[in-house]
């Protein structure tokens, strides 16, 4: 008996099947957001030793129930807070901070290590506004860190951090980490959220 050739399978409907699957995945896809502002909460147990912080080293930001900002007892717009925070952190009142470029106003913060930003809110404050303010305050820190990184290593802090997180980056990560830590020590992020 003559060997019969197997009939060819019709592939015309392959596109339809693929389309069906494609549409399924298109519909189920949600691009998850995985970015955000990292914060560390203060631990619960309050230490016995009272830490005495001079009033001039605290930058109080109060956000009331009507989403109005009170910065150092003055009403302020959201857009101005970044500049005010930079001025406060970069003041360098006691002269120990040789990389600060602030006004060295004795009534403002001593040095970036001592400067603390305290963010208070009320129960009625909207979350959106709160995040906006947090964002601006983090931006103030980043601005100073970027400036310092530019001065020391010729590139911005954000860039360096992106490189550090990038798995494909070729370079000395140990050294980069050291540099990042150094800048973080020079401008530590001391932001307290009080209830």
């Amino acid at each position: 008996m003559a060997k019969r050739a197997a009939p060819e399978v019709n592939a015309g409907s392959m596109a339809d099947i693929a389309f069906l699957l494609l549409i399924f995945f298109l519909v189920t896809t949600t691009i998850e957001t995985d970015t955000g502002i990292n914060r560390k909460l203060p631990p619960m147990e309050d230490s016995d030793e009272d830490v005495i912080i001079k009033q001039k080293n605290i930058f109080t930001v109060l956000l009331n129930g009507k989403d109005q900002l009170l910065v150092e007892d003055e009403l302020m717009e959201l857009k101005d807070i970044r500049k005010a925070a930079v001025e406060f952190l970069d003041n360098g009142g006691d002269g120990t901070c040789n990389y600060c470029r602030g006004k060295k106003d004795p009534s403002s913060s001593d040095n970036p290590d001592k400067a603390i930003i305290s963010l208070k809110n009320e129960r009625e404050t909207s979350y959106k506004m709160y995040i906006s303010v947090q964002n601006e305050l983090v931006a103030a820190y980043n601005e100073l860190r970027n400036r310092r990184a530019q001065q020391l290593y010729g590139r911005s802090f954000i860039e360096m951090q992106a490189d550090f997180d990038n798995v494909n980056w070729v370079g000395n990560k140990e050294k980069l980490k050291e540099q990042l830590e150094e800048i973080k020590i020079e401008y530590p992020q001391k932001l307290s959220e009080v209830q």
Binding site: A11, M14, A15, A18, F19, L21, L22, F25, L26, T28, T29, T30, I31, E32, T33, D34, T35, G36, I37, N38, R39, K40, L41, P42, P43, M44, L63, L78, K79, N121, E122, R123, E124, T125, S126, Y127, K128, Y130, I131, S132, Q134, N135, E136, V138, A139, N142, D165, E193, Q195
Partner: protein, 158 residues
Amino acid sequence: MAKFNKKKGGELPAISTASLPDIVFMLLFFFMVATVMRENTLMIKNSLPYADQVEKLDKKDLVMYIYAGKPSDAYKQYGTEARIQLNDKFAGVEDIAAFIAQERASKREELIPFLTTALKVDSEANMGLIGDIKQELRKVNALKINYTTRKGNVFDKH
């Protein structure tokens, strides 16, 4: 000379669709790879606020998600006040401690200090609820938190 007969008319030849499956498959593979299946069905409105000074959450498996916001239209019977959602159901503030304990129990012991709590809170919610959540988290010593936001300018009207 039949061999050199001109084709009749000026008709365009039909476009071959033989490569269509290949193109579709290419798209299909892209979406298959990019798809992350949602773990929780959201019962709340969850439009996150915008911020631009953001950091990436690196280890996905070391993140605990706490959602909060107004109940969405399908769950109107739960009221219009912003609520907390843990896993697939609404929860009260007092349930957070149990939730964290449960999440911790499901992870290897040495990884527990690296657990981060991501707060996915609707931008309409107010800080009272978030203050309560933060207080609960402090009680169970889950101090690393992340306010999950979308990337965008704070000053733009979204």
